[in-house]
């Protein structure tokens, strides 16, 4: 049933067992799993080759919007394996081979193409162009037709909540109490967000996370919240908002949405750690590891290294140890914090492996050692998922302890009218704070829509909220956010350390962007040779943040790296402008949409 299945299946519903065909071999998995998870459980981590350098790639994150590797499914190329769930007889093909001549042309497909001798020669350039165009590992456009009877669904609501985690659900419940028409959009298989994968008690909550969030979910559904699952919010357009579900498979469903208020509760993004060969298959983010372990009963590996002794990293380590996984936590900070088996003072990491990570070379202060690992989990830092708030036009700023976030007040209002933010997306740490923020956001939406009776309840909650902020020790940074919102003065933050950076120089094998093969070296050149220190310009000179994940994984890391190297405030570097679509949509689906319905 797969080498990496946990012996004690603590996971809930596994669905039915089905067999799929992967490059000619038959493997089995459960219908509740995405292809990525089923393959991972069977030890298949190497799913494809990268775009420019043909490096082996697996998935970094299971989030449907992190499209770092594509496979061919039932003959359709370039499908996201994390988005599609198992059905019997599915045929999966992964790209294993790389062209022989790739090495020769590797430098030509370099992101800046600054090769003077090549370019100046009028005879060679046209030939070089051909090689460049053909040497990029791009798929053919999928050839499939959909029947043009696809229904365009128009959804009208008072309040749309983007994200169905603990914050989003809490918001929905409050808003329903005041009789708002609530639409909840969530891109997971089931509502609940990250708390679903928590078998322990989240901070401030007195029952296991998955039990707690399931209760919330039940309550929200009882109160009549309309839910779109497996659906991604695509973007705010001037004339409407759009959401998209890739189901039914190979067709998809578009939703045209109009609402008076929006709550962004999209949670956080695990930032990839930057070190040599950090793109190897087997290097994944913390939320994927938690999800595989607690939702699907798949252990991420037998010997696991976790990067970052953060709350998240330690929670993960605890989870893994419960499943008898050899776990090491590596952390950048010096000195012993007394938190179990943590190796401190890590300066540099080099991952080694041909098709997946096998070995880590770790440099600590003064000593150097090797770790045999089959999985590395990045848990060093998270950042609020700001793309939707930024796209809507809310003001984004960097606050040292919380990351880049939409500025908001204690009523969870952002600088964009009618747009509220709650939970991880507002920079708050996991646990009870997400719940209370969600509730406040829900009440604020009610107040905005003239439910004046919600005001008193909100006042009481805000009081509780502020004392909880004190209790969890993040009162200062949060108050800084509230102040910045009110005064419109952006804090001037200096960063002295980059928690995700486990690399000493601008290496050519330390990746920042997995989609476009953009490395620290490319960023460094943009900064030091061209003198660009504004993310918009670095983006245009390197191509960072322009690929299919729309900068989900790379933009924050790049902005912080630039700030770190150039000695600037991340607010001076800025975050690049976010544009729709959050997730790409097939032309045939958009062409089938009926606009006159709105």
């Amino acid at each position: 049933m797969g080498a990496l299945r946990a012996k004690d299946l603590t996971a809930d519903s596994q669905g039915n067992v089905v067999s799929i065909d992967v490059n000619g071999a038959t493997i089995s998995g459960f219908t509740s799993e995405s292809i990525s998870v089923a393959l991972y459980a069977n030890g298949i981590k190497f799913l494809g080759r990268s775009k420019k350098l043909y490096r082996p790639r697996g998935f970094f994150s299971l989030h449907p919007q992190a499209r770092t590797v594509m496979v061919s499914i039932n003959g359709i190329p370039a499908m996201n394996p994390s988005e599609i769930y198992l059905t019997d007889g599915l045929k999966v093909r992964t790209q294993q081979k790389r062209p022989l001549l790739m090495r020769v042309f590797e430098s030509m497909v370099d992101t800046s193409l600054l090769h003077k001798p090549l370019v100046k020669n009028r005879l060679i350039w046209p030939i070089a162009l051909k090689f460049i165009a053909n040497s990029i590992n791009n798929p053919e456009p999928a050839k499939y037709e959909i029947s043009h009877s696809v229904s365009t669904i128009v959804e009208n609501a008072d309040l749309v909540i983007i994200g169905g985690g603990s914050a989003g659900l809490s918001a929905a419940i409050e808003a329903r109490k005041y009789d708002l028409k609530v639409l909840q959009i969530d891109d997971g298989v089931e509502l609940g967000g990250e708390m679903l994968y928590d078998k322990f008690e989240p901070p401030g909550i007195s029952e296991p996370g998955h039990v707690f969030v399931k209760n919330l979910r039940r309550k929200a559904l009882e109160l009549g919240v309309r839910v779109l699952s497996k659906t991604t919010f695509v973007g705010f357009f001037e004339d409407a908002a759009l959401a998209f579900s890739p189901y039914p498979l190979n067709v998809g469903t578009p939703y045209i949405i109009s609402a008076k208020a929006y709550i962004v509760a999209t949670g956080t993004v695990d930032l990839p750690c930057i070190f040599a060969n950090n793109d190897l298959p087997g290097i994944i983010d913390a939320s994927s590891a938690l999800m595989m372990l607690n939702m699907h009963g798949v252990i991420p590996g037998k010997n696991v290294a976790i990067l970052g002794a953060t709350e998240r990293g330690l929670r993960l380590a605890e989870n893994l140890k419960k499943n008898d996984v050899n776990t090491v936590v590596l952390d950048k900070s010096c000195g012993n914090t007394g938190k179990g088996d943590v190796i401190h003072g890590v300066k540099e990491i080099v991952a080694i492996g041909k098709e997946m990570v096998k070995l880590l070379k770790v440099k600590c202060e003064g000593e150097e050692f090797r770790l045999n690992v089959d999985c590395v989990i990045c848990a060093a830092s998270t950042n609020p998922d700001i793309r939707i708030s930024a796209q809507a036009g809310a003001k984004i700023a960097y606050v040292k302890e919380l990351g880049f976030l939409p500025l908001h007040d204690f009523f969870m209002r952002t600088s964009k009218d009618g747009l509220f933010v709650a939970g991880g997306a507002s920079g708050s740490p996991y646990g009870i704070l997400h719940i209370i923020e969600g509730r406040i956001a829900g009440l604020s939406a009610a107040v905005m829509l003239n439910k004046t009776s919600a005001e008193a309840e909100r006042e009481a909650l805000v009081k509780e909220y502020r004392s909880l902020l004190q209790k969890f020790g993040i009162s200062d940074p949060k108050e800084k956010v509230f102040r910045s919102f009110e005064t419109a003065l952006i804090p001037d933050e200096k960063i002295t350390e980059l928690p995700t950076l486990f690399c000493s120089g601008p290496r050519r094998d330390a990746f920042v962007c997995f989609c476009e093969d953009i490395r620290l070296w490319d960023l460094h050149r943009s900064i030091s040779v061209y003198g660009f220190t504004c993310l918009e310009k670095v983006k245009r000179s390197t191509g960072i943040g322009t690929a299919s994940c729309q900068g989900r994984l790379c933009l924050v890391n790049s902005a912080l790296y630039i700030a770190y190297v150039a000695g600037l405030s991340p607010n001076a570097v800025g975050i690049a402008r976010q544009r729709p679509l959050t997730i790409s949509m097939p032309i045939n689906l958009l062409a089938a949409m009926e606009m006159n319905k709105t």
Binding site: L114, Y144, E145, F237, D239
Partner: protein, 378 residues
Amino acid sequence: MRIVIVGSGVMGLSSAYNLAKLGAKNIIILEKEYLSYGSTVRSASRFRVHFWTEENSRFALEAKKIMLKLSSITGWNIIVTTGGYLWLLFSEEQVKAFREKNKMWERLGIAGKFLSSSEIKERYPYIYTDDVVEGFFGPQNGSCFHSYVAFGYYKAATKLGARLFEKSPVKRVLVENNKVIGVELPQGNIEADVVLLTAGAWTDELLIGLGIELPTEPERKEIALTESYKYFIKPLIIDFGTSAYIGQALKGEILGSIEIPAKSGLLPLENTLEFLVKWAKAVYKRFPALRGARIMRCWSGYYSMSADSSHIMGRDPEWPEGLYVSYGDSGHGFMMGPLIGKLLAKNILYGEIDELMRPFLPTRFKEGKLIPEKLVIG
């Protein structure tokens, strides 16, 4: 001579580079946001020589020559390709009009080729051609990478001593005794003997502040981009029926746009679902091979539209001394930019008006010598 250039798009930067190259010492470029915030890097990044009017065609021909050499001039590889432009024509009248124009183009040495419906099918099997009457293929046209055009000019200009100030929005141009004396910024004033306005769609406001009114207005246009696919669409293909166009970048993204009911004024740079769906419908019909392609992103930018859809450059002798403009490019400013900068530099420093430039002076509107350009798309 102290020269202030307002705007850091391809116009402003190529002017700065050429002025500096001719020896101008004191050049300041002011940009309200960041380097090339405006229309340059929002464009479709193509160049062509086929225009409806002879003046524009001649101008574009010279501009293309610079574009081809630009990588050597600035040291930034702008990745020039010459994949051509293909216009799909849907009626006998359209074909007749193009045949008429082709005589003029032939005279200029840039004759194109007419392709029958079946020839198009053969050469470009991904196009649905059943309703196409004929196609006009201009092999002289091509593409390049807009960011590197701008960045290259910027690097070359700053190397020669020009200075760029970002986050410096010019509020108005200061005039005394009918002579330009500087510009006003929120941070303070900057003195200048020459002020060159190359702020694209934002130029109108500055001119109105001086009491100068030219028949121009900003028009918002939108562009959509797909994920990367194998490079197979070499030319830029313009559907003359729906005004939709598509082209593929070397990196593999397919980019395109379509006209939606014009929206003028400095509207927020956002997108509409109306546009996205309309473009998808047009692509769906015209390019069956692209039906499964996925649209990844869309953005918008302004065309600075002039009354005759041709660019405006230089000055009107009745204007305050030292005031020059280059704007109103009506969607083809990016491709003309390299030459505009070169000619303007000579105009500003030596008062020389090149024969290519003469038709495009701002005085043409009151003299009634319009250059009615019809090939605006693409």
